[in-house]
């Protein structure tokens, strides 16, 4: 009887380890990568080229975002897919260019975009684009949407910024179909 018990125990130990490990890894990855991304962004601003933060990265920084009220300073990566979002908020490739067109930025609710929980309508936010120019934005609306039946509609040429993250912030399930959309207008 000892053996099955041992097996199950071992299994549980492994799961516990993996679970905590993953959670820790995700948080550490999200934080650590910032250092490398910051370096890449500095180089991008100097040279104007796409600089990959590390050699095998499939994304690169395309902007920087500062929300003074919550002391948030984030580098925006190209692409709003999993590989990019793990390291930082990502610009949706299907939407417009940052700064000049309407763009959509996605971010994880539990790492980089956790600050969106506390932003208010009217808050200022600065966005730096590849050319080094800072664009001032102001939060014009916060919306909570159900994504099951709809997409986000953007007018490419309106120079809006949409920050998208999962909602509500403190839940367990991952395949959530509710999103918080923070809409910003140039100010």
């Amino acid at each position: 009887m000892a053996k099955p018990k041992l097996l199950v125990s071992l299994l549980l130990i492994v799961i516990t380890a993996i679970g905590f490990g993953n959670a820790a890894w995700l948080s550490v990855k999200a934080e650590l990568a910032q250092v490398l991304i910051k370096r890449a962004w500095t180089e991008t601003l100097q040279t104007g080229d796409q600089v990959r933060p590390w050699q095998w990265a499939d994304t690169w920084p395309v902007g920087r975002m500062v929300h003074p009220n919550s002391n948030t300073d984030l580098y925006i990566l190209e692409g709003a897919q999993g590989n990019a979002l793990a390291f930082g908020p990502g610009r949706h490739a299907n939407a417009g260019e940052l700064g000049s067109e309407s763009s959509v930025i996605g971010g994880h609710k539990d790492t980089h975009f956790a600050f969106l929980e506390k932003v208010n309508v009217g808050d200022a936010l600065q966005l730096q684009t590849l050319d080094g120019v800072w664009h001032p934005y102001r939060i014009s609306a916060k919306r909570i949407v159900d994504i099951q039946d709809q997409d986000l509609h953007v007018q490419l040429n309106q120079k809006r910024l949409y920050l998208v993250t999962c909602y509500p912030f403190h839940t367990i399930s991952q395949n959530n179909h509710v999103r918080l959309v923070v809409e910003l207008e140039p100010s």
């Binding site: 993953n22 609710k109 309508v121 509609h153 007018q155 120079k159």
Partner: protein, 812 residues
């Protein structure tokens, strides 16, 4: 024998009540472990189930809907249009088929466009082979009946008007896998200009800009599905509440009304203080993607009986074939090359009679219940603009550079504007106002057309980018307020897609500030708001053209130039026959004759009640008196020498006393009477014109309650859908079992072709850290549970060590 052996342990009555905490465990050890092991294995299994989705969607993966083979939409929609044109009246049978493609009961909501003159007078719901006829009711009453039926699980449908060119179709309780077809019948007056007839069928809409401050603030709202849904009743309350609130207080929402009833909500915009029904006129949109060809498809069959030989039939955005129908005179069938077309742009059919048959005047009539209805068309004389006196013009061009113009529309608008600038005469003066959220003027004052000014204007136009909102009021006000110099004719040319939600307010502004100016609209895009275009031109006493395609900019602008450059046919007067003049209750629309521009006919809708009494008078006076049996349009023209020339056109009234099948349209001016047959739809067309006239009065400030009363008086007998009346059809029997629920599904409209708007799928934005944490915590708990004995012993040992340590420290 069964119980020869006593059970090893009596679970309910343990033999010993004394249980030492950490010793004596051998007795109960074995069976307990069994149970625990089973329990833990089961929980592990559950844990495994929980983890499994994680392995599928690796943390933070974005699932792009379009890439991952998006399952087809839960609700499919297709439209079938059967068009029958008879003279100037188009009878349209418009069938919308809703297919529930899911395995759940569904309510469909579809906000769809029609031409602004469409007069819907019948609605039927087709469920399998059962037909349920719709009844016309007051809007609120219809809504209530529909809601009750929907809750009760009965199939029902409701058609409502949101704008004269925007309607909402609701269908309740569509069973899984079922089709329900809603068939609308409507009458639409065919347009006639420059010797060409045209029929317009919008299939989608340009998303409208909603000006104003939202009267509902939803930030930080805990989500109920489509939380921004709200009944119109709460809007007003909210508005007041909002007004009293400071802007800085927007974060606090102690008294927010959010209705849980999300049935009548179909839009992406929130009601604002300027557009209180914003959510109803902003249906969800999707891009035209290849996988969307299952839904939003339209098929069309058309029969045109123009009453004369036709030279050509064409459509600008679509490929059509046409041929005359055998064994008939002047009847033609039109077919689209594709059996199904994608509903992403307006459909236009144009037909042109043979040159010899170009109609000059026509009288169509219908007698219903002792009332005589007529539609009269009179064409003013064709004149060569060069023979007439012309005045220098002062033209202000307004160009819409809002976000909705992005993409091809803004390029078309710029091309059209450049054409117009280059075309200006040396005597003329001009200015340009470009607007989006704000407006900019090119020159502070209208300027002459020196080459350097023209060049400045052309480079200004080249630099225009579509971006921002559609705040029309400021730009219109700016353009209209500038006083023209003496002897200059002031004209305003407004180039826009008309995608705004506050039409009525703008009409009122145009009417108030117009003065001596004339407003012309140029509609841009695949699906412009034609209601705004035509009505703004009507209030602005000007005219309109539509540019729906890059290829016809030249042609359509040419048409506009002709109108701008030829003098207006003003001082028009309409003389009705004596017996109509005497009858005080004859109603004629439009009440005030509009100015006529080159190539435009005058169309008048007349109702003569108590028609029998008129006939009586007619008979007494003698039937030979033909001279006073004509509708006469008279006016004046000024030639280059300043001489005033009088002209007139007339058509004989036909009371349909002796119907004889004949040509409906007279070919020659003042020709002998041609007996027209009864033309169905003339009465409906008249009623629609009356409703439009009443709505115009409302836009200009007449009390809404009075307008509503007057509209109900016309709409209910004529069975017309209006802003205050809706069609509702309800099945008698209940079909949805009470145990099941139905969810609302929106039919999305396609983004108009050429528009620069994108539908972005939402990214997956959770790293799943919480999930990992929960899983590990859970498995840790299970581990502890499984190894309870060991854990206890271990903990106890630790505790003892700790205690001893404590004792030592105390002692020491």
């Amino acid at each position: 024998m069964l119980f020869s052996k006593t059970p090893k342990r009596d679970y309910f009555n343990p033999p010993s009540t004394y249980k030492p905490w950490f010793r004596d465990r051998q007795r109960a050890a074995q069976p307990r472990k069994h149970r625990l092991l089973i329990l833990v294995s089961f929980l592990c299994f559950l844990l495994g189930l929980m983890i499994s989705p994680l392995s599928r969607a690796e943390s933070g993966e974005l699932i792009l809907k379009s890439e991952d083979g998006e399952p087809s939409p839960a609700l499919l929609h297709s439209t079938d249009v059967d068009l029958k044109v008879n003279g100037m009246i188009a009878h349209v049978t418009y069938s919308q088929k809703f297919t529930n493609n899911s395995n759940k009961w569904t309510h469909a909501v579809y906000t769809f466009p029609l031409n602004e003159n469409a007069a819907i007078n019948s609605m039927e719901m087709l469920i399998g082979k059962r037909i349920i006829r719709g009844k016309i009711k007051q809007k609120e009453e219809a809504k209530k009946a529909f809601e009750t039926a929907k809750k009760a699980g009965k199939k029902a449908s409701l058609t409502e008007q949101q704008r004269p060119n925007l309607f909402t179709q609701h269908v309740a309780n569509i069973a899984p896998g079922e089709d329900i077809t809603v068939t609308l019948q409507y009458i639409q007056q065919v347009a006639y200009q420059n010797g060409e007839f045209s029929f317009h069928l919008p299939t989608t809409l340009t998303p409208r800009y909603i000006p104003g401050i939202p009267t509902k603030d939803l930030s930080d709202t805990v989500l109920v599905e489509h939380a921004y849904a709200g009944g119109s009743e709460t809007n007003n309350a909210n508005e007041e509440h909002r007004h009293s609130e400071n802007k800085s207080e927007r974060g606090s929402h102690s008294r927010r009304h959010i209705t849980t009833d999300n049935t009548f909500i179909s839009g992406w915009a929130l009601p604002t203080n300027e557009v209180s029904d914003a959510d109803k006129i902003t249906p969800f949109m999707i891009d035209t993607l290849p996988q969307n060809n299952l839904t939003n498809q339209l098929s069309l069959t058309a029969t045109i009986n123009a009453g004369m030989a036709i030279n050509s039939i064409c459509s600008k955005g679509h490929q059509v074939q046409w041929h005359s129908i055998d064994d008939t005179k002047y009847q033609y069938r039109v077919l689209l090359d594709d059996t199904q077309i994608t509903m992403d742009r307006d459909l236009w059919l144009h037909w042109r009679p043979l040159n010899t048959a170009t109609p000059q005047a026509a009288y169509f009539a219908e007698n219903i219940d002792n009332n005589h209805y007529a539609l009269v068309m009179l064409t003013p004389p064709q004149v060569n603009p060069k023979d007439l006196q012309d005045f220098p013009r002062d033209v202000t061009f307004i160009i819409d550079t809002s976000g909705s113009m992005g993409g091809r529309p803004i390029e078309d608008a710029k091309a059209a504007l450049k054409l117009a600038i280059e075309r200006l005469d040396t005597k003329d003066r001009f200015n340009i106002v470009a607007f989006s959220s704000n407006y900019t003027k090119l020159f502070s004052q209208p300027t002459n057309t020196q080459p350097h000014n023209i060049n400045t204007a052309l480079s200004f136009i080249s630099g225009l980018r579509a971006n921002g909102g559609t705040e029309m009021a400021g730009a219109l006000h700016e353009a209209l307020k500038a006083e023209p110099q003496e002897n200059f004719i002031k004209q305003v040319v407004f180039i826009t897609d008309g995608a705004v939600g506050n039409e009525a307010a703008l009409f009122s502004l145009i009417k108030q500030e117009l003065g001596s100016a004339r407003l012309f609209t140029v509609g841009i895009g695949s699906a412009p708001n034609s209601y705004f275009m035509t009505r703004a031109a009507q209030f602005g006493r000007g005219s309109y053209v539509f540019i729906h395609d890059t290829n016809n900019i030249q042609k359509e602008m040419q048409r506009l130039f002709t109108k701008l450059e030829s003098p207006v046919l003003s001082n028009l007067s309409l003389i009705l026959p004596k017996n109509m003049r005497l009858n005080k209750s004859v109603e004629v629309f439009p009440k005030r004759l509009p100015d006529l521009y080159a190539g435009e006919p005058l169309l008048i809708n007349i109702k003569v009640p108590d028609f029998d009494s008129i006939k009586h008078i007619d008979n007494v006076k003698g039937s030979g008196n033909n001279l006073d049996n004509n509708v006469v349009l008279a006016g004046t023209l000024t030639d280059t020498n300043g001489n005033i020339l009088k002209w007139q056109r007339s058509v004989q009234v036909q009371y349909l006393t002796a119907p004889s099948p004949n040509n409906a349209i007279d070919n020659a001016v003042n020709s002998p009477p041609a007996h027209s047959t009864q033309t169905t739809g003339i009465a409906t067309a008249w009623a629609r014109k009356k409703v439009a006239a009443l709505m115009d009065e409302k836009a200009l400030g007449r009390n809404e309650e009075d307008v509503e009363k007057d509209i109900l008086k016309v709409a209910l007998p004529h069975k017309l859908i209006t802003a205050y009346t809706s069609f509702v059809a309800i099945e008698e029997t209940k079909s949805r079992p009470e145990s099941t629920n139905a969810s609302p599904q929106h039919v999305k409209n396609l983004m108009p072709q050429g528009m620069q708007m994108r539908a972005i799928s939402y990214p997956q934005t959770s790293a799943g850290i919480n999930q990992h944490l929960v899983i590990s915590a859970l498995s840790l708990f299970l581990l502890m549970l499984l190894n309870m004995g060991e854990a206890r012993r271990y903990l106890f040992a630790q505790y003892r060590i700790f205690k001893e340590d404590k004792g030592i420290t105390h002692n020491g």
